[in-house]
Symmetry: C2
Subunit: 302 residues, 2 copies
């Protein structure tokens, strides 16, 4: 399946107990594309400003990442700045400057219109729907990420978009906020009534949980002794997940389970270094080796 992602391409300034980087390439779209491209070609829909030069694109080069949908607009590129404490599960956002993203109204290149797998990164649900609407025929699999901001501010728009989505990929807190239900199994049933057939709950250091109408599947986080920068873990998870599914070409119990594992694998590599650094040096061999390690992490015989 041909895979398209819409999401931010940004500059990030990040501080963690392991160091600090300034204006490094970031954004959900970047992490997603770099993760997914290890499995399948990716079409990127995003906007950057005049400060985003050819040099900044270099990390995408030599990979099956199509940037025909990367719009250049007058103004500055989306900028995010955040700080993590010793508890890497909590972060403080220091700055969010939407810049060119504020006026973004994605118009897909013609070659993107037949995308059969689509991931709607965490942006305004109205924009997410506008991207989805341009794709014909309807994608075979559409995934969506969102956050508290959209759940609170644009609940009706989010609901309208969710009707057309198959897989919702959010965290525990967002699941509870979206559904008003604390218990995650019951929350999943609420989600199913909104449209999606599968709910993937990203739980950071606790791994990820998938609930569908047919089964529940749990994958742990890969145990790491050093987590340098958690930024982009969830987006890399989504990239590994959707990239694997698109490559597999089928969505069924088995491919969904493997997608959860590959999502976790890509998320675990992403946090080993700052920004997209680790995703950029990663090899297919390292990915497969870590995926096999996940079997050992959970394998038992009664």
């Amino acid at each position: 399946m041909s895979l398209l992602v819409v999401g931010s391409v940004a500059f990030d300034a990040i501080e963690t107990p392991h160091g600090k980087v300034d204006r490094t390439l970031g954004g959900a779209g970047s992490y997603f594309a770099l993760a997914a491209a290890h499995f399948t070609p990716v079409r990127v829909v995003a906007v950057v400003g005049e400060d985003f030069t050819e040099k900044h694109k270099s990390v995408f080069r030599g990979r099956p990442i199509d940037l025909a949908g990367l719009e250049h607009a007058p103004g500055k590129t989306f900028f995010w700045s955040g700080r993590y404490g010793i508890n890497m599960n909590e972060r403080t956002t220091l700055a969010t400057e939407l810049n060119v993203f504020a006026g973004f109204n994605p118009s897909l290149p013609k070659a993107y219109l037949n995308s059969s797998a689509v991931f709607l990164g965490n942006i305004d649900p109205t924009l997410q729907r506008s991207v989805l609407r341009q794709i014909r025929p309807k994608p075979r699999v559409a995934g969506l990420d969102t956050m508290n901001y959209w759940i609170e501010r644009t609940p009706a728009e989010l609901r309208r978009t969710l009707k057309h989505v198959h897989i919702l990929m959010i965290n525990d807190e967002e699941t509870r906020q979206l559904t008003g239900e604390h218990n995650l199994l019951r929350a999943a049933k609420h989600v199913f009534r909104m449209g999606p057939r599968a709910l993937v709950i990203k739980r950071g250091e606790h791994g990820a949980l998938m609930v569908t109408k047919e089964f529940v599947f749990s994958v742990p986080a890969y145990p790491l002794e050093v987590v340098r920068d958690p930024t982009g873990a969830g987006d890399s998870f989504a990239g590994g997940f959707m990239g694997y599914l698109a490559k597999a070409g089928r969505v069924n119990r088995q491919t969904l389970r493997s997608a959860m594992v590959y999502g976790s694998v890509l998320g675990s590599f992403a946090v080993e270094h700052f920004g997209v650094k680790r995703l950029a040096t990663l090899t297919r061999r390292e990915i497969e080796s870590r995926a096999r390690h996940f079997s050992k992490l959970t394998y038992f015989k009664l």
Copy 2:
């Protein structure tokens, strides 16, 4: 292996969003014994007061639970009262009345002295050590639970006791507090230097993680739509874990992994009803069926 547990036998008053019970049988020793007895005979070391009558013992009857080590002392039985909100991971302790437990100085019945598997429930580490010292020859496997109270107030005593323990079974927060290390893999290395060869981290709704010098193993929590009362989940986990190990008669990679699964199974049943109610009606068939379900929860093929 013959299994001994030392831990509280108590009266609990519990309030959760699903209801309320007053003065029901509780305490780590009770949950542990009822869980472990599904696998193997259990010897109980604890103290109760004059208000603890034959009627209260009835739930232990007809099971392989030896109460020769249940001391009756003048005064009242240990009493705990707590309330859970909608987030079942957090609880408010309303009352803790040690009563007869305050002057407890366990002296083991002669028939208990050869116990080859021992679990030291969450009590004063000095008492834990005194129980361990009475057992000859040294037990083949000794597990220990503790909590923030002892980590803060009696750190030296706890360290002295840990030297003689093989498996430490605590939660994330306690692990971090005990070792001063946020990362759980690095924290486990600290724990290994204190004596134990295995660290089992109980994570409530996120399952449990085992770290040994040789391997890491993760088991999810069983997904339940209704959690009525989380009290005793960790103690039931410990009971299932140690009960299975004692029955298996060997401590190795495979039995440790299965013990993690059976621990999770017993913990998941315990929370389905108030107090020890569900553990008391549980059958071996239900246990095996849920254990098999755990395979489905985590099984994947790349």
